[in-house]
Symmetry: C2
Subunit: 360 residues, 2 copies
């Protein structure tokens, strides 16, 4: 079997060792005579998986005791609605920094619930940068400040998080666990799993528990964060297999040496591809401004559409997958999440160096 | 490897052949060099999986062209809220038949959204039966009539569905695909997958498309059925692995000969266990009345708590899993969904015959 060079934006590459372990125990989970998918979510065996995933995330991200870890469904897109339904209360104002399509969607859902305010935006430059922290202007009566820590489509990433004078909420779907962060700065972090955490189908939320007291009564049970907090995310049947895969990915991160080691590796991985861009004499044009470059999604355009097509066709031939850019930016995008090996990045950089000579 | 006799109420047994196929292609999905979990949800390869699952469900359940198949997340519990948010509109009344804990939960969520009415209930007899169709009394201005086709906890099941003078909506989580039904009778059917359809993490909805026109504007995008219908359930990243497993389970049902064959097998399977109850001279007391017995969940009590404990301990020794009853009924429950083989039911019936002699 030859592994593809998988640069998908999500769902995306998983560590080979994780897939191998899942395969090995797929029919008989640790001597139960059942697949992990066949376990009751109320069984001792599943409980261990569930709690191990939670505990590993706490350990790897240094989550303080002030915060709880929840497992939800529906992806970040459902969080776009849950955040305002739970916290845009008492006539206060939801503050949003717009850094791409996903923050726009988050804002759109909040508008359905209450009053909102755009605290900063880089829309006028097609989201090529992250607004400086000094430029963020909160409204009066801010309920929270919502940011998107990494912008999958535009290839930008926050370097330093704002010290906002309100609760900071972050959609970290595409860079959670890719670098060390200070969780205490955040009131709420949420992330769909399908980039750095596991397969699609589970959403992780890390919530400062005093926020739970602010939630209005009478929300739909499944849209109330308290439901997950008070039941250990076991109010109804959770996506057990996705959480099992999450637990294996987290074990893998721990085995690699933790988030600090992963972060260094991510810098090296993205570094070789950005170098190929920067040393191409303008053949590859980066979309993101230098100080806002993402270590997760590397976006660049080629001289024209014809050359881009040829690049993608030739890349496909060589086993590179997922390099087509999103239509909002055009060109190409290489997503290099935690599980993408350095070797794949080096192979891509090599190909990027050769391509202009032979096909450019 | 010895397979457990898996009588879990859900998540529950999956067909061995399905697990074997998933295991075999877990590292390399059909020559892509990627796991199915690593495929982009926008790729041709995943698209085939997604559409195949949809098409197989249409074929196996004879779903008419008036209805669309949607894949959602959040389990039946989120549907309890989505149904009234989408359809309890214009001051009309949500009608509910109460046949157990799950219908009660559905009603509770509807009450948060609009006016409701209990059209029939068997609560006064601890939900031991399904109310007769003649006893159902609709309110004025009914928006819909909601029923729970099979009651996992109490072990009851609707035999004949009511010809209501309003749109019929059914939670079929625990008996979808277990018997032939006339989908045209229903405005909306929904089901969490983790009993007869696959692993937990995906919810199937079958909706008559004219209902979509009735949905109010400005619902949260992820809670609006139109979002799923207009995007082929690909508005955001779906739970791709769960849908893949669903497609394999549906292929398996087709290979078995379809739902009709499965239904006969389910009658035989439940039959041997009910026979063990009925021939026990009252040692095993069935909870459900005879005409309301479920073919999916068989509930019975033993003479006392002490004997029940001994039964469960002895059963565990022999490799039977998941037989403890829910606390609302006590005693035991054997869940015999589609993937539980006849052999497991026969082994349980045999054990039930022997137990009173040696331990009773």
């Amino acid at each position: 079997m030859k592994r593809a060079y998988n640069f998908n934006a999500g769902p995306s590459a998983l560590p080979l060792a994780v897939l191998q372990r899942a395969q090995q125990e797929l029919l008989d989970f640790r001597g139960t005579g059942m697949s992990v998918m066949e376990l009751s979510h109320r069984s001792k065996e599943y409980d261990e998986v569930h709690n191990r995933a939670k505990q590993l995330l706490k350990e790897l991200m240094n989550i303080p005791d002030t915060h709880d870890v929840l497992f939800l469904q529906g992806g970040a897109s459902l969080q776009f609605s849950m955040v305002p339904m739970n916290f845009l209360t008492d006539g206060r104002v939801g503050n949003y920094v717009l850094t791409g399509a996903w923050s726009e969607k988050a804002l759109k859902e909040a508008k359905k619930v209450g009053e909102t305010h755009i605290a900063a935006s880089s829309k006028e430059e097609n989201y090529a940068y992250i607004p400086a922290n000094e430029s963020i202007q909160l409204s009066e009566e801010a309920a929270y400040l919502h940011i998107t820590s990494n912008n999958t489509i535009f290839g930008t990433q926050w370097n330093e998080f704002p010290d906002a004078d309100t609760d900071l909420i972050a959609d970290m779907s595409s860079d959670i666990l890719s670098r060390e962060i200070d969780v205490a700065k955040f009131a709420l972090i949420y992330a769909g799993a399908q980039k750095n955490l596991g397969p699609s189908g589970v959403t992780v939320a890390i919530i400062r528990t005093d926020l739970l007291e602010r939630i209005p009564e009478n929300l739909p049970t499944m849209l109330d964060y308290r439901t997950y907090s008070t039941s250990n995310s076991l109010y109804n049947t959770p996506p057990t297999f996705a959480i099992y895969m999450l637990s294996l990915v987290l074990e893998w991160v721990k085995e690699q040496g933790g988030v600090g080691v992963i972060e260094k590796r991510n810098q090296e991985k993205a570094g070789v591809i950005y170098a190929a861009i920067d040393e191409s004499d303008g053949f590859y044009a980066p979309h993101a401004k230098k100080d806002s470059r993402s270590l997760m999604n590397i976006t660049f355009t080629l001289p024209n559409e014809e050359v881009t097509k040829r690049f993608l066709a030739e890349a496909k031939e060589r086993g590179f997958v997922g390099l087509a850019g999103h239509r909002s930016v055009g060109g190409c995008r290489a997503s290099v999440y935690n599980a993408v090996p350095l070797e794949a990045c080096e192979a891509l950089a090599q190909f990027m160096k050769e391509f202009p000579k032979y096909f450019g």
